[in-house]
Amino acid sequence: MASPTRNTKSSDLADAPVNAALSDEDKLELLRTMVRIRRFEQTSLKHYHSGSIGGFLHLYIGQESVAAGSISLLGENDHVITAYRDHGHALAVGMTMKECMAELFGKRTGCSKGKGGSMHYFAPDKNYWGGHGIVGGQTPLGAGIAFALKYKGLKGCCLCYLGDGAINQGAFHEALNLAELWDLPVVYVIENNGYSMGTSQARSSAFPEQGLAARAEAYGMAWDKIDGVSIYEIRAGVQKAIERAHSESKPTLLEIETYRHKGHSVADANAEKYRTKEEIQKFMTEHDPIEFWKATLIEEGVLTEEKFKAISKEAGAEADEAAEFAEKSDYPDEAEIFDDVYWEVDNNTEAGRTGRHFFHK
C-alpha cells in the first residue's frame, strides 16, 4: 500500500510578507478557526451516532489548516466553493456553528433550511457557494463565479476546492481548459489527503512525477504544491495564486498535501483497512495541523498551553450550544417541501403564478 509522504520540516515561510503581516491576534484567530472546526465536527459526530443527524457526514478533521489558512487570505470580492466535505470552509468563511449544526439536524434554522444537509451547505451572503455532492461538479461552477467577477469588473477571485479523486472527472478537465483559455480568476485547490474513499492516489490517477497539480501544464496553467500541515506555507502559496488572479486574471492549480484523520465518511467501516494504523497514527501525531500551529505559536511566544485550553474549551462550549440550538429548532413543515424550488413561485410573481409547476401533492 503506497502511503503518502509529507515533509515535516517546520516552515521557513513565516517571514513571507503575507505571514509577517499577521498580528498575534490574527495568529490566534487562525488557531481559533481550526479548533472551532474540529470541535464542531467532534460534536456533530456525537449527535450523528445518537441519531439526530442522518445521511452522510464527511469529517474534515486533519485538514483544518487548508480551509483556515487559505480562506484567511480572502477579501470582499473573493469567493469560495467546495465539495461535500464542506464544514471547515463554511466555518472559515464565518458561517455560524448554529446554522451549520442545525442544517445537519435537518432543521429550518439550518443554513439551507435543512434541505441540503451536510454535503450541501450554502451562504452566498458570505461568498460561500456550496457544498456540492457530485464529485467534480462544483469545478465548472467555480469557473463561473470567476467569470462573473471578471464580467462585472470586480477585482476578486474564486477559490474552488476539490479532492485528489475529483481530478479524474471530465468536468474538471473542461473547466481547467476554459479557465486558462479565458483568463478566469479562479484558484483550484486540490486538497490531497491521499485517498478517494478507499482508493489511494496511486490507484486512481496517472500523473506527472511533480504531482497532481502538475497536470496544469497540460493547459499551460500555473501550479504549485504546498505542504498543508503549515498555515504559513498555505498562506504564502495560496497568496501567490490569489495575486495572480487579482492582478493578471489568470487561474492557478494548487495541490495542498493534507490528511483526513477519520474515515471517508462516518459510514466508512474500512477507514483502518485501506490505511495502516501506523500511517494514521503518524499523521495524527506528526502532521496534525492544529498541533503543528499550536507548537509554532508557543515557539513564537504567542500562545501558552493555558490559552490553548481556553480556546479549545470555548470552541467546545460553542459547539454544544449550537447542538442545543439545533435540537430545539423546528423541522420544516411538510408544505415547505415545495418552497425554494422555483424563485418565481417563491416570490409569487406573474411567472410563478402562470401554469402548473408541481405535479404531485
Binding site: 443554513c111 452566498p124 457530485i134 463561473g144 463565479i145 467569470f147 467577477l149 424563485w343 401554469g355
Partner: protein, 331 residues
C-alpha cells in the same frame, strides 16, 4: 399588412432585444460568435455586441454550461446555445443537478437564471446521436422549466420571457422550423412596445369542436396540417392546442379543450415511453375522466433510435396522415 419574419429571425430579435435591455445578458456557445451560429440564429450579434457579450466556446458543454450556471448564481443571465440539444447529454449532470437543485439545497438562498437553448428535433437525417428530443427528460426534474415554441411569434415572445425568468429555462427549438415564416409584429406596432409571452400558457392555434389535437414544438405544426385534412376530407372540426411550455404546464387549457371536444390525441416527436403524451393523457384521465368519450390517444415518433435513411426517418416521425387515421378511430 402585418410583418412576417422567420422563426430564426424572431429568435435573433428576441436575443438582440434582451442583450440591449440588460447588460448582464450574454451568449455563449460553439460557433455562436465569429461563425454567426451553426444555424445562424445568432447571426450578426457578435459583430454588434462584441467579445464580451457573444462568446465562442470550446467543445466542452459540461464546462461552459456549468460555468454559466455558476455565473448565473452570481447574478449574470447567461444564454447558452447547444448546437444540438442532443449535446446536453455530455452536460447532463450540470443541467439536471446544479441548475435544478442548487436553489433548493441552499434553502432558496440563490437562484439560477440561465437559459439553455438549441434545436431538439429529429427529421434532418443526422442519425440517432443528433436527434434527441429530451423535453420529457428535463421536465421530469422539479426546479427546471422547459419551453418549446412552434412558430416565429411564440419563439420571439418566449425567448424574451425565458431570459427574464429567474429560474433555469431549457428552450427547445427545431432546425426544421427555423426557416418557417410567420406574423411577428414589430415593436412599434405593439402598444406594450415589445412582444413578451408568459411561460406556462398554452395557445389554441385552431378552434374546433370534435376532437382536441394537443401538441408541442414541431408536432404542433403537423397537428395543424392534420386538422386541415380532417376538415376538408372528413368534415371533422379539430381543435389544436399548442402547449408552448411543457413545464410549467397549462393544464387548465388542456382540460378546457377536452371538456369541449371530449376526445383528445397527444402528438409529439419525442419517443413514446414516458413522453409528454403519457403525462398529459394521464392528467386528462385524472382530471376529466367523465368528460372523455374515448381514451386519450398518443402519437409519438416510431419507437427506435432515429434512423438516418431520409425516406425512413420521415415515416418515423408523426405525420398528418397518421394523425387523421388515429383521429378517425375515435371520432
Amino acid at each position: 399588412m402585418p410583418r412576417e419574419i422567420s422563426y430564426r429571425k424572431a429568435l435573433r430579435e428576441g436575443l438582440d432585444e434582451e442583450l440591449a435591455r440588460d447588460e448582464n445578458v450574454f451568449i455563449i456557445g460553439e460557433e455562436v460568435a465569429e461563425y454567426n451560429g451553426a444555424y445562424k440564429v445568432t447571426e450578426g450579434l457578435w459583430k454588434k455586441w462584441g467579445d464580451k457579450r457573444v462568446i465562442d466556446a470550446p467543445i466542452s458543454e459540461a464546462g461552459f454550461i456549468g460555468m454559466g450556471i455558476g455565473a448565473s448564481m452570481f447574478g449574470l443571465r447567461p444564454v447558452m446555445e447547444l448546437m444540438f440539444f442532443s449535446f446536453a447529454y455530455v452536460a447532463f449532470d450540470q443541467m439536471m443537478n446544479n441548475a435544478s437543485s442548487c436553489r433548493y439545497m441552499s434553502g432558496g438562498r440563490l437562484n439560477v437564471p440561465i437559459v439553455v437553448r438549441g434545436p431538439a428535433n429529429g427529421g434532418t437525417n443526422v442519425g440517432a446521436t443528433h436527434s434527441h428530443t429530451p423535453e420529457n427528460i428535463f421536465a421530469n426534474m422539479p426546479g427546471l422549466k422547459v419551453v418549446s415554441p412552434s412558430d416565429a411569434y411564440d419563439a420571439k415572445g418566449l425567448i424574451k420571457s425565458a431570459i427574464r425568468d429567474n429560474d433555469p429555462v431549457y428552450f427547445m427549438e427545431s432546425t426544421l422550423l427555423y426557416g418557417n415564416v410567420g406574423e411577428v409584429p414589430s415593436n412599434d406596432e405593439l402598444e406594450e412596445g415589445e412582444l413578451v409571452i408568459p411561460i406556462g400558457k398554452a395557445k389554441v392555434k385552431r378552434q374546433g369542436t370534435d376532437i382536441s389535437l394537443i401538441a408541442h414544438g414541431g408536432a404542433a405544426v403537423t397537428a395543424l396540417a392534420a386538422a386541415d385534412l380532417l376538415e376538408e376530407k372528413h368534415g371533422i372540426h379539430a381543435e389544436v392546442l399548442d402547449l408552448r411550455s411543457i413545464r410549467p404546464l397549462d393544464d387548465e387549457a388542456i382540460m378546457e379543450t377536452v371538456r369541449k371536444t371530449h376526445r383528445a390525441i397527444y402528438i409529439e416527436e419525442n419517443k413514446p415511453f414516458c413522453g409528454i403524451g403519457a403525462q398529459v393523457s394521464s392528467m386528462i384521465m385524472e382530471q376529466a375522466f367523465d368528460d372523455l368519450d374515448a381514451p386519450v390517444l398518443r402519437i409519438a415518433s416510431a419507437d427506435a433510435p432515429a434512423i438516418y435513411s431520409p425516406p425512413l426517418e420521415k415515416m418515423q416521425l408523426p405525420t398528418a396522415e397518421e394523425i387523421v387515421e388515429r383521429a378517425l378511430s375515435i371520432c
